[in-house]
Symmetry: C2
């Protein structure tokens, strides 16, 4: 309590920063054909994932992502203190139905497409405070359920403007552990790195020789001491609602860009970092239109993040080849990109410090039909590569 | 980090327990005619609260409740570190639009009618962890917007079975402060108690002599040293999703009773308390049908809470006179009852320890139409009366 944690107006820098010790991604068929296709743990040619409805399919993805993230780290569901989860659907039903079977005490969240940031922030805050060894953060979205929720059922074959986003069918789950947690013993030498490796080999079929839940390493490998991962959540910048008065729900990039700018600039002001201190600044789903607005807005505040910026919505799909217009979006977009593409690079040390900023557009069909504007919100998560030696030196 | 906080499987008992330092309630016309009518801070004969739509009206209530809770404690919005809020509407739009103007970094939540418990739990967890001096928790519901969201627009004059609940039009906001917070100086002798007093005198008009935001005490009164309130959040029991397979969305009491039982019994097991240790065990909105099921389920676990139990849904309306069938419900039901009826009794010492257990039914029109069951969730908040002397002795 006496050690300084709060930082500036909206940020926390943790004294005993928690770690992301494993992550898992489950994605749909279009995502499997995209640039990250080979990096996902599970993809399915049938976007129903064996279920009867899009909503059930989304719940199935969430459950699979959670079970996989747990399995990679060899942690049981009953060892998870609290789960933080959410999705885009009304009354967060994909999450309720998805995580019900895990029987983990849970906090349901809604932050539109920023929910993965919200869930990671609360999971990290809870782990850093000593409220439990393990926390689980999970979010999802599904193209079929989101089109039905926000626009039209797929059967209507609705046309979309070029500024529109394509909701990612996918779910990402993240196991967060307190700094002093001893991970379970497992059967591989450098185990932690494999917690971020995709479950499957390149190709569509799951490797038969892998252990249940996709843990790598056969039993014949030497038993190794448990090791913490190299990815710690150093801090968070909790976003506030930013409303520039835009009302076009088919141009969510423009609606969310001001919130992304606000959180990024606030993170700089709170922490003293600038774009030079981050290897990457990665927004959730601004898409190409939102990105250019973000660059302009951030420049107006005296910063230039162009050379450091990535956007998950522009990373997850090949815009030209896949006809996804402005880019990907949805609670699953930033989540699967973080799990499959960003975390392995931090784990390996390729990136030393990343500001991960999922962005959300706060609207419903009711608010839109009643003429309300579409404000945005974005939460910043500071992810750092950390060598075990660095920990000891602290 | 080294002091023991986690307790049993799902509970936390805080080392430096935070306090609820003020609360405010805003309610509709039917609630004003109910048993708690004179205890609310603001009621309005026109349930639109000056807005054009039910959704806007709900947002207005949330904003008013927040501003009032801040005003009672003489705390500015910019001094609030984080806001935790939610409502029943799809994509939590009442909260987004309601709290936008406050510009407080925020976490959007969804836990159906249990959201006030979820918000208080996270606010207390954040304050106890040292993540900021002040946190704000707010929830709301509105009969008009909820009927439209879950059933039919009011204009359809839909008939309701006797097992149905009546969604409370109301919003409650709670200012949570870390244990070591020095409250702002203010102009009354025993100030904290007044933070829980209703803003208005008996009757419909707001007292003209009160300060802005309803703070009591004129400037001619003697300046007194700041004092902490007597209501502390000693701990929380975070609920998990409990599904007994019920599918009747018009009998939510039955759907939620198993979750209430689960959280109450878990609280007993985690903390070692039983019904004898609580002056009251107060559920959110089980109504009369849910209450009788709860009694049976709890008795099956070896406890008897009948003499200690209250239900906010049965407290907020007069069932016979107001024709509200099973009782009140909604995110606002437990919130306004806590703010207006429960907290003043804890503040005064009439009740020394209360287990507050808001209950939620996890469904949407989509999940209902697709034949899914209606699971429940309930979060337990341990509220204790605390004299200043007791604090020093610790």
């Amino acid at each position: 309590m006496n050690r300084r944690i709060t930082q500036g107006k909206q940020s926390l820098l943790f004294c005993d920063a928690p770690y992301i010790v494993s992550a898992a991604s489950v994605a749909g068929s279009k995502e499997a054909e995209g640039p990250l296709g080979k990096l996902f743990d599970i993809t399915n040619e049938d976007d129903l994932f064996g279920a009867q409805t899009w909503e059930e399919a989304e719940s199935t993805m969430q459950k699979e992502a959670c079970v996989l993230a747990l399995g990679k780290a060899r942690v049981e569901a009953e060892d998870i203190r609290y789960l933080f989860g959410g999705d885009l659907l009304r009354q967060g039903i994909a999450t309720s139905m998805g995580v019900e079977g895990l029987q983990i005490p849970m906090f349901g969240l809604y932050g539109a497409c920023s929910t993965s940031g919200e869930a990671l922030a609360l999971a990290a805050m809870s782990a850093a405070a000593g409220y439990g060894k393990y926390m689980l953060a999970v979010t999802s979205s599904h193209f079929g359920s989101a089109e039905k929720e926000f626009r039209f059922p797929l059967g209507y074959a609705n046309q979309r403007p070029l500024s529109a986003h394509w909701t990612v069918t996918g779910s990402g789950a993240f196991l967060v552990a307190a700094a002093d947690t001893e991970l379970p013993r497992r059967a591989a030498a450098d185990t932690a790195t494999e917690n971020f490796a995709p479950r499957r080999a390149a190709g569509d079929t799951v490797k038969e020789e892998t252990a249940p839940h996709g843990a790598e390493g056969g039993i014949e490998k030497e038993k190794a001491a448990p090791r913490m991962s190299h990815v710690r959540i150093a801090g968070v910048t909790v976003g506030k609602i930013v409303d520039y008065g835009l009302k076009d729900s088919q141009n969510m990039g423009a609606c969310m860009a001001p919130a992304a700018m606000d959180t990024i600039v606030q993170n700089f002001e709170d922490t003293g970092y600038t774009e030079a201190d981050y290897d990457r600044i990665i927004t959730g789903d601004l898409g190409c239109i939102g990105q250019s607005i973000l660059f302009d807005l951030v420049r107006g505040k005296g910063y230039d993040i162009r050379r450091k910026h990535l956007d998950c919505g522009m990373t997850v799909f090949d815009r030209e080849r896949q006809d996804t217009h402005a880019g990907g979006s949805g609670c699953g977009c930033a989540a699967v990109t973080l799990a499959s593409f960003i975390l392995p690079r931090i784990e390996s040390g390729e990136w030393k410090r990343v500001l991960f900023v999922p962005t959300g557009a706060l609207l419903s069909t009711v608010s839109f039909n009643e003429g309300a504007s579409v404000p945005g919100i974005a939460h910043g998560i500071i992810l750092e590569h950390r060598e075990p030696d660095e920990e000891k030196g602290e």
